[in-house]
């Protein structure tokens, strides 16, 4: 009998809550009653080139270092070179000093230099 009374009271309480709170859960929250549709101002961009496919492995590959010769490049690149060739002894890393300084070189000249060096990948730096 007590259980039946408790169930009855619970049902009444739920109904009262439902009526009082305006069918909570089926109506928008008070904070969502006004909708403003606006344009994303970042506009459109065009992709004309895709990033190159990654290499499957670094064994036996040639990697070009491309540097702006700044921000301790003379320390960071030799260490990167050392670490890579320790891990992949058959890989060849072309030092940045053997390629044009990326700060100021014409884009076509840089691309041609990388092509001429026959590199499979490039590490570009430093820091920027």
């Amino acid at each position: 009998m007590r259980i039946r009374q408790a169930s009855y009271l619970a049902i009444v309480a739920c109904l009262l809550f439902w009526v009082h709170h305006g069918h909570a859960g089926t109506q928008p929250d008070a904070a969502d009653r006004f909708t403003l549709n606006v344009f994303d101002p970042s506009g459109a961009t065009r992709v004309t080139h895709l990033h190159a496919d990654r290499l499957s492995d670094l064994k036996g590959v040639r990697i070009c270092e491309l540097s702006d010769h700044m921000w301790e490049a003379y320390r960071t690149f030799p260490l990167i070179r050392q670490l890579l060739t320790e891990r992949y002894p058959s890989s060849i890393v072309i030092p940045y000093e053997d390629l044009p300084n990326i700060y100021g070189v014409k884009e076509k000249e840089l691309i041609e230099a990388v092509r001429k060096a026959e590199c499979d990948a490039a590490i570009v730096g430093n820091a920027g």
Partner: protein
């Protein structure tokens, strides 16, 4: 893949985006301190696997070519002011705002502003670097909507953006340099009065009687920020930026005050008198020069000597101009009375420019080692004293600032334009209707000062 210092990933993303690549790039980030002298290089060892992964396993999110357009955003609130506040918060989170309150770029408001051009909404004006966002009448109307602009401002904004994107202005450098540089837009032709651009008192600042410059200049900043991605510290490395980066400097030449023997700026730039034009340059300061009296020949020379003294200072910005055949060291603004007085005493623009150019030269001994390292010009250009431009034509003079002769203003070149760029302003076929609307909304135009 790139070796990047923490905090510079946005610079790299924009560099890729500006060259037509998807902006997400294979980057490995290291602490900024690692790139300083005597630094600890252990992060290179610790992140070797990450560097190898960047060369072997990194996958771009964008794998197809084409144009990706931004769409609409939905912002909700308890009422309009609440939704507007939330939109302003959202735009700040996305780095699309200058921090001042924005008006909402709703479809209705943007379409209203697009009444200001006959161009198709999607006609490409150019790509704004470094990000490479595509400027179109619609994307510019969105910036004007955010900035509080009106339809009649759109033709001026379109011409100004065309000028900014001209290779002569090198806007990609303006948007990324450490230099604190911003665009100046000088409008000639009857459109200036039509749209309520100030050419007189206070023309470089706020003016409720002639308010167009503020919204047009603010919209230009949104073009550079949102389409160009010129966000401080992420892409724009400008050390100070400057207050003019909020609204630029957008004003009109006081054509009614130009002496008969002098030519307006746009005529000097090759346009017919009376043509509606916007001339753009990249400047880095506004230096007030008290004086400008012309009552006697002695007073004339004293005024010009003061101006030359303010102009002839040993700063590197000038050498961007001295390298260029059409380089301009800056723009000297003078009020109507000063220009009239100079003209009456036989000083035409060419004579004034030559006098200023001769007296604004800087002894090379004052230029210092930074000049030698960074800006040393080719030997055939180097002189002692060093001129601030290749020739006197590299000093531009514009009449603006009201009727008095109390002050002049020097707008000094910033990084790194090659020349002034002027573009014609094309008015839409419904211009008369827009002018009627303008009077209806803002009241009758006040007489120009």
């Amino acid at each position: 893949m790139t070796v990047t210092r923490s905090g510079f990933t946005g610079v790299i993303e924009n560099a890729f985006s500006s060259r037509g690549f998807p902006k997400e790039a294979s980057q490995i980030k290291y602490p900024a301190d690692m790139f300083l002298p005597d630094s600890d290089l252990s992060p290179l060892r610790n992140k070797l696997d990450g560097l190898i992964a960047g060369l072997t396993r990194w996958e771009p999110r964008v794998t197809t070519k084409g144009v990706s357009s931004a769409g609409m955003l939905t912002v909700q609130g308890s009422n309009y002011p609440d939704a507007l506040t939330r939109m302003n918060d959202l735009f700040l989170q996305h780095l699309w705002s200058d921090g001042l309150p924005l008006l909402p770029p709703t479809e209705e408001r943007v379409n209203w502003i697009l009444k200001g051009t006959d161009l198709p909404d999607d006609r490409e004006i150019g790509e704004v670097l470094p990000r490479g966002g595509i400027a179109t009448p619609k994307s510019l109307a969105i910036t004007l909507a955010m900035a509080g602009g009106r339809p009649e401002y759109l033709p001026v904004l379109i011409a100004a953006v065309q000028a900014i994107l001209d290779p002569g202005l090198k806007h990609e450098r303006m948007n990324t340099t450490t230099n604190s540089v911003y665009p100046v837009v000088i409008v000639n032709g009857p459109v200036a009065e039509d749209v309520r651009l100030n050419s007189g008192y206070g023309c470089l600042g706020p003016d409720p009687l002639q308010p167009a410059g503020a919204a047009i200049g603010r919209a230009i900043r949104f073009v550079l920020l949102n389409l160009g991605g010129s966000v401080p510290e992420k892409t724009s490395m400008s050390i100070y930026g400057g207050p003019a980066r909020y609204t630029g400097l957008v004003f009109a030449e006081d054509e009614a005050g130009i002496p008969e023997t002098w030519k307006p700026l746009n005529v000097e730039q090759g346009f017919k008198a009376g043509t509606n034009t916007a001339t753009v340059y990249a400047v880095s300061s506004t230096t007030n020069i008290p004086g400008g009296e012309t009552g006697t020949e002695t007073a004339v020379k004293a005024s010009l000597n003061r101006a030359a003294g303010c102009m002839g200072i040993p700063i590197g910005n000038y050498w961007f101009a001295t390298y260029q055949p059409e380089g301009v060291a800056g723009i000297l603004l003078m009020g109507r009375r000063t220009a009239e007085g100079l003209s009456q005493r036989g000083w035409d623009k060419a004579k004034v420019k030559k006098y200023l150019w001769e007296r604004a030269k800087v002894p090379t001994s004052e230029l210092g080692p930074r000049f030698e390292i960074w800006w040393m010009p080719p030997k055939e250009i180097l002189e002692d004293p060093m001129p601030i431009a290749v020739d006197p034509q590299g000093i531009e003079i514009v009449v603006a600032g009201g009727k008095q002769s109390g002050h002049m203003m020097w707008l000094q070149v910033g990084c790194c334009p090659k020349r002034l760029v002027t573009k014609k302003i094309d008015l839409p076929s419904n211009w008369d209707e827009l002018m009627k609307d303008s009077v209806g909304h803002l009241g009758p135009r006040m007489p120009r000062n």
